[in-house]
Symmetry: D2
Subunit: 187 residues, 4 copies
């Protein structure tokens, strides 16, 4: 069974909510998954678990136009895995949340891609069409924000994680499916 | 008086609408400005006018995650001005429109910055805060889409240029002001 | 057998040389591949061939900080395939050449990724470590330029395609292998 | 007199060497400048000094495809200055160093631009042409690496800061000149 690890940082709970939605969707689709928070020091067991995963999904809030410093600290620490190319040929995907529709969300996802490529991973986007091409599109439609490379969610600054972002487990099925197909091809 | 040229391509009229709003705002603020469409062959007079400008504003729709091919054709042709560094120290700014909130809009603006930097220009963003940090933010608020590096506008695919994007002359005053200050500093 | 199509534009022959090296490497590794030049109008047969491919590799010179306008014209025309998501789940990869070590090469590759993601493709990078981490690294080492997301090559402006870039078929084996594994997983 | 602050993080001394070269060049050109290291907690005096500066230059090594986590921590903490738009209309510029010619250097500079634009700053690139367009270009030529948006330097992993990167004070004069002109225009 495919093993998927979602490595994320969340500052105020909104990104955590997205991570949990992604997790629920993956499990529902029949793959094995778990959340990992890279805040503070990661121990050897954490790195071993990442080394054993088929897919690693990166998640972080967009702060000041890029992934949060807590996530970047994790990314920098992954240089050890980079040096040995331990994550080579794993599937990678990502998601980010911020208070604006655009802001630096695209920048954060671009960074995730760059990180994954240094690790020689294979990148899978959302596989979704955008929803908001029609004037009457409601805000809570699937992919209203219009992310392709990664899942983009938006949470107003005055909204609690219970209120926002809107249900964002959309990328889930694709990543699980991609992982399963990629894993099957290796046999 | 500051001379500002807005070089833009528009496929269906939405980007043209933004260009005209930017133009109106610049003129209102007391600077001299005009629109230039780089579709087809630019003649020597067009390039001479760009060479004489204080500020060049780039505008293009985002097609398939980047500036339209018609705009890129203009950018490639500017290699002659690049080679002689004719645009060095001019102010640059940009805007883009597409059907989604995010999509590749950030990618298009990033390209404009990269282009401007090859030309040794100075980049001025929107100077605006985002509007949509509150849950009750109406769609037609200033900078709802959340652009900082450049002006981002969104037009539903089924909306005519009369209907969309919402009034987008927001960047105007800043670029005109930046140009005036930069011009004054050169005396 | 995996079918790989390399869609590229070349202005002065350097990018063509890279395309041919990538082609040779793919064929050597046992996959089926061919070159396609998207300059001018693509006909229905061209688009049908892309629709039937397992993998599409994008190649273009970097002009003024991004892919050449001729390539962008092809990308814009692919909006028809995007609308029907015809390229969904295909593998994508890319390469670019320019006269400088850095310049906008990374920008061009980032654009290829953004394009691929709109098409819901899966992105495979070079899977290579950089060569030039040692002071004595010769210029003609593998991956001297240091590309991860895509293959980056550099050709001095005064060098003919026979002279430059240095042998650049490096990405080949990885893309062919990724395609084969991905194809096998779909059975 | 123009006040320029160079805020940088350096892991092994190579980026520090670049920062010092930039500092020396600014002072030589007649402006006032100083270095600031944002590692650890910045105190109120540090933020006040940044608030009083005409120009802020960002510097960081490129780690795993982006600015080091220590720099990102500083960037995240600048959200307070962002909220009040304290840095609005200041000039911004940047530099980065890494072991490869390309790697993520462009990504780091792109991030610096995105950060500066959120702060409503004005971005000034290097204003330099690339050197390595000729086959016989020596490695230690000005702008061999080919940076436009920001200063890019490369240091082999086995080279000490005394040995690498090659003299990199190239951006200096431009930033000091841009600052002076911008400052003069505000009178």
């Amino acid at each position: 069974m495919s093993r998927i690890v979602i490595v994320y940082h969340s500052g105020y709970g909104h990104t955590k909510k997205v991570a949990e939605a992604v997790l629920a969707g993956i499990i529902e689709s029949g793959a094995e998954a778990r959340l990992m928070m890279p805040v503070g020091e990661m121990d050897d067991a954490s790195w071993a678990e990442l080394a054993a995963a088929d897919t690693i999904i990166f998640g972080a809030p967009t702060y000041m136009g890029g992934p949060s410093a807590d996530f970047k600290k994790f990314a920098d620490a992954s240089s050890k895995a980079w040096f040995t190319q331990t994550w080579k040929d794993k599937i990678a995907a990502g998601f980010t949340n911020s208070a604006t529709m655009n802001g630096g969300k695209f920048s954060t996802i671009q960074y995730f891609v760059t990180l994954a490529m240094q690790h020689s991973m294979i990148w899978a986007g959302t596989g979704m069409m955008p929803s908001n091409t029609k004037a009457a599109t409601p805000r809570n439609d699937l992919n209203y924000v219009g992310g392709f490379t990664g899942l983009l969610t938006q949470s107003p600054a005055d909204a609690s994680p219970e209120e926002a972002p809107p249900a964002g487990d959309l990328e889930t099925a694709r990543v699980a499916g991609v992982t399963a197909r990629w894993r099957a091809g290796a046999r």
